[in-house]
């Protein structure tokens, strides 16, 4: 699916592909900095999900999961020296749909499902499906050198 179809708000000049398509990791692992993060599913563990987090599709569960890799909730998306931030998106029912991470220049980076990584202004991937809904919360942690 062409990006402009999935994300009508994307402005072509602002958005850049930064990787080839890759089905071996997804947005959650990409944002967490640990590719084994996939998605909480029931049953025997095929996907990694921190033992501290409930295996449910809620913002609280995702916040707990990201906390296991050092992220804590924060108030805003502003760029701060030495801090990396993630944004958690939810659909109209409040179910998590996506996570994006902030780059050192203030742009945001997303892994698009089984597709590629892109850089983009944060809000340009918001919108109704197949866009990612709206940003529900931000989290931050010290940026690793």
């Amino acid at each position: 699916m062409h990006l402009m179809v999935a994300f009508p708000q994307i402005v072509d000049a602002d958005c850049h592909q930064t990787s080839p398509q890759d089905r071996l990791y997804n947005c959650i692992g990409y944002a967490a900095g640990r590719r084994q993060f996939w998605w909480p599913i029931p049953g025997p563990p095929l996907t990694f999900w921190p033992i501290t987090a409930p295996r449910v599709l809620t913002v609280a569960a995702f916040v707990t999961a990201f906390a296991s890799v050092g992220y804590q909730p924060c108030d805003n998306e502003g760029l701060e020296d030495g801090i990396e931030k993630i944004a958690l998106f939810v659909d109209g029912n409040g179910i998590p749909t996506h996570a994006a991470k902030q780059l050192p220049d203030g742009m945001w980076s997303s892994k698009l499902g089984k597709l590629e990584d892109i850089t983009h202004p944060l809000r340009q991937v918001e919108g109704p499906p197949p866009s990612y809904g709206i940003v529900a919360c931000f989290m931050s942690r010290p940026r690793k050198p």
Binding site: W38, W39, L46, G113
Partner: protein, 150 residues
């Protein structure tokens, strides 16, 4: 709804799928397959005729192709990937699909762990491999080798 009858060569079927909009698959005895185009999900159907081995391989190939194409989207949900209708139909093929899945897995690691577990009831994945698609593929290939399926 237009219908296209194609003699059963897998390349012809796959080529038809890549042109898009192939939604309805009838698998018939004797190798004849009809592909009907349409967007209505209710029109999707795979007949319940007992297929021969060639039909099974073609059915598997077509379903894999559709699953890959339709789950290569911006959606990141693992559930969207493994609950896709074509993936579910592969699970529905049962044990006969296992060698084909393993061969596919050997060719290219992908999210086949859910299907293999659903069909076989086994879970050969070490805890440290959870979420690592390539490690899960390796674990299932070792399982397949141990069971003489590769």
């Amino acid at each position: 709804m237009p219908e296209v009858l194609i003699s059963s060569t897998q390349s012809a079927i796959v080529a038809g799928v890549t042109t898009g909009h192939v939604r309805l698959l009838h698998f018939r005895t004797g190798g004849a397959i009809s592909l009907m185009t349409g967007e209505d999900e209710a029109d999707r159907d795979v007949s319940l005729h007992a297929p021969d081995t060639d039909d099974l391989a073609i059915r598997f190939g077509v379903l894999v192709k559709i699953w890959r194409e339709e789950t290569t989207t911006p959606s990141s949900s693992y559930i969207d990937i493994v609950m896709h209708w074509a993936y579910q139909r592969i699970i529905g093929m049962g044990a006969v699909a296992v060698p084909m899945i393993l061969a596919e897995l050997r060719r290219e690691p992908d999210h086949w762990g859910w299907a293999l577990e659903a069909i076989t009831g086994d879970h050969p994945i070490p805890p440290e491999a959870a979420g690592d698609v390539e490690a899960i593929a390796a674990a299932w290939l070792a399982w397949g080798d141990a069971h003489g399926l590769l």
